[in-house]
């Protein structure tokens, strides 16, 4: 799956968990997901679950750097690293 497709799927997923009262037409790749208020901070749990299920990443085993979930771009970078390994 190429990065563009991963991005579209990720943004599609973020749309399902974003705060209901956050009006946004487009999600910029560099937008801070929790800092901007797009998603609730504890919703990071849902992103982790999405990555586990879609890309078979075991965070319990490897741990996670919070910065890796900061934005769409950092998450896509994380996916790229996981696929490469």
């Amino acid at each position: 799956m190429d990065r563009e497709k991963q991005k579209n799927e990720l943004i599609g997923f973020l749309r399902t968990i974003q705060r209901p009262d956050y009006p946004l037409d487009e999600i910029d790749e560099n937008l801070g997901l929790t800092e901007s208020g797009l998603i609730d901070s504890l919703a990071l749990l849902q992103i982790i679950t999405y990555l586990e299920q879609t890309y078979d990443v075991d965070f319990r085993e490897k741990g996670i750097d919070p910065g890796e979930l900061r934005s769409v771009r950092t998450i896509l970078d994380l996916i790229a690293r996981e696929i490469a390994t």
Binding site: P20, R60, G63, I64
Partner: protein, 510 residues
């Protein structure tokens, strides 16, 4: 001196700033001088709009030294809510963080209060200064006011005296000892009882070291295992909703420093309980039951042969607990009518750590306190072993991940919106927080312009975490059997309907 001012070291994990006992004494002495110059005297109150940092604890001791009362509030509250609380508290001055939004200081000024922003730079020029002798404070002086609800209407402030706080700490020392709390981590907000009275002050004022993290910080939760190892943490308290993220994202601690974990402020299910035990590598994970009014932790499972169970609390920690069939205050004196063993009823607590009352609300106080007994609002039973189990809650609060949100606070804001006819806020199940906020509203006009205006009105008046995540626009509310509006009936009616697509309406904003 009756306060245990043999404090431990303080470390702020976000910045790495740390203070030893001598430096703390020096900083407290500095603040005492400054606040004395500001006219702070015995019987005064100081409202504090920040928490979870070094300054908070320095200010607490300085305010207590001068015989005044410390009133910490949630730093996430809206300017409207802060102004409302400031008017109710009538503080000598209000401490505001330098990072606070301008709207907060404007609101405070509008309430006629003085704003002080304490400096954050930690002075290292600590001379040999002894901790100030606490000569002005009396045991029955008001020490702490913690607001549990009413930020948008009539505030409900729980007043604790030095006597009730000291009773809590002594009870905890007798019930739990202090051996496990050498290096305590606080991840909870310091403006509520669980975080402040028990997680922080109980160990810190026992001379043990305290490590302070930003409240509920997801960055810290995802690194909790490392954090515990790096600082050799021996104890932390928590709320159940914190653990979802930690168990998924954080490696377990490896150093075996952790001796005990408490979990409270919301029901802890047996499954999660066992997962925490496994992650932490210790069986010493206790479901700590507490209420702000009782000085927080008042019962829990202590060392012994217990298996995590849904609803299990355990034995009292410095309290007597009775299950009564009545919730009327007079029932507390009626020793002939307790529930039988394993019979469910209302949970009443008698403890020396009980609050003085709700600030300026005698009637409200009388509804829950009688002869030293306190009606918790919880429903439960005591089994053959004398262990307390909770079975439900009678209070209307919405427990969003351990943060209590009162539907009345949201109703009060929406009712003031010019196009509102009726409003009813209620809790809904939430996979992350356990519960979250939903709202049903009847509007005079329910077009998109009005809904957007209502949303803007609520954003201006309510803290972000109180905003309903689900909206229902109704033509009228279904009455209950007695013809009145019931939150439960409205909630059940809404469960059959599709919620408003608020995002679509807001995105279509011209």
């Amino acid at each position: 001196m009756f306060l245990d001012i043999n404090v431990g070291h303080l470390t702020e994990l976000l910045t790495g700033r740390t203070l030893n006992r001598r430096e703390i004494a020096f900083r407290v002495a500095e603040r005492v001088e400054q606040y004395q110059d500001e006219g702070l005297a015995r019987g005064d109150r100081v409202l504090v709009c920040y928490g979870n940092n070094l300054e908070f604890f320095i200010d607490l001791l300085a305010v207590w030294h001068l015989g005044a009362s410390f009133v910490p509030i949630d730093g996430r509250l809206s300017a409207f809510e802060v102004e409302n609380l400031a008017r109710a508290v009538r503080p000598r001055f209000i401490l505001v963080d330098s990072k606070a939004d301008n709207s907060i200081t404007t609101a405070i000024t509008a309430a006629g209060a003085k704003v002080i922003t304490p400096p954050r730079n930690v002075s290292k020029q600590a001379h040999s200064v002894a901790m100030p002798f606490n000569s002005r404070t009396r045991l029955d002086d008001e020490a702490l006011i913690l607001f549990t609800s009413g930020s948008t209407g009539t505030p409900k402030g729980v007043v604790h005296t030095h006597r009730s706080l000291r009773a809590r700490w002594i009870a905890l020392r007798e019930s739990l000892g202090v051996q496990s709390y050498d290096r305590t981590l606080c991840l909870l907000p310091t403006h509520f009882g669980h975080g402040l009275i028990c997680n922080c002050l109980f160990p810190w004022l026992s001379g043990l070291d305290l490590y302070i993290a930003p409240a509920f910080s997801t960055d810290f939760l995802m690194q909790l295992g490392h954090l515990i190892d790096d600082h050799k943490i021996t104890f932390l308290s928590s709320v159940p909703s914190m653990w979802g993220l930690t168990l998924k994202a954080s490696k377990p601690p490896q150093s075996q420093s952790l001796r005990r974990i408490h979990c409270g402020s919301a029901p802890l299910g047996a499954h999660l309980w066992k997962q925490i035990q496994e992650w932490a590598g210790t069986r010493e994970v206790f479901n700590a039951y507490g209420i702000t009014e009782t000085g927080s932790w008042v019962a829990g499972t202590t060392v012994g042969d217990f298996v995590p169970e849904d609803g299990l609390i355990g034995i009292p920690w410095g309290a007597v607990i009775r299950i009564l069939s009545s919730r009327e205050p007079a029932a507390a004196f009626d020793l002939d009518s307790p529930c039988k063993t394993e019979e469910t009823g209302y949970v009443w607590i008698n403890t020396a750590a009980l609050m003085q009352g709700y600030d300026g609300q005698q009637q409200l106080t009388d509804e829950v306190m009688s002869g030293g007994w306190f009606l918790t609002g919880d429903v439960g039973l005591i089994d053959q072993r004398g262990w307390l189990y909770l079975k439900g809650r009678e209070r209307e609060e919405i427990n969003k991940g351990g943060t209590k949100i009162y539907p009345q606070d949201i109703d009060a804001v929406v009712e003031r919106f010019e196009h509102t006819r009726e409003v009813c806020t209620f809790g809904i199940a939430d996979p992350l927080y356990g519960q979250n906020v939903a709202m049903a509203v009847v509007l005079k006009n329910d077009d998109a312009i009005t809904i957007r205006a209502l949303h803007g009105w609520m954003k201006r008046h309510l803290a972000e975490f109180k905003m309903p995540i689900r909206w229902y626009i109704l033509d009228s509310f279904p009455p209950n059997a007695r013809g009145k509006i019931s939150r439960r009936v409205v909630q059940e009616s809404c469960a059959q309907r599709a919620p408003l697509d608020l995002q679509k309406i807001l995105r279509a904003q011209p």
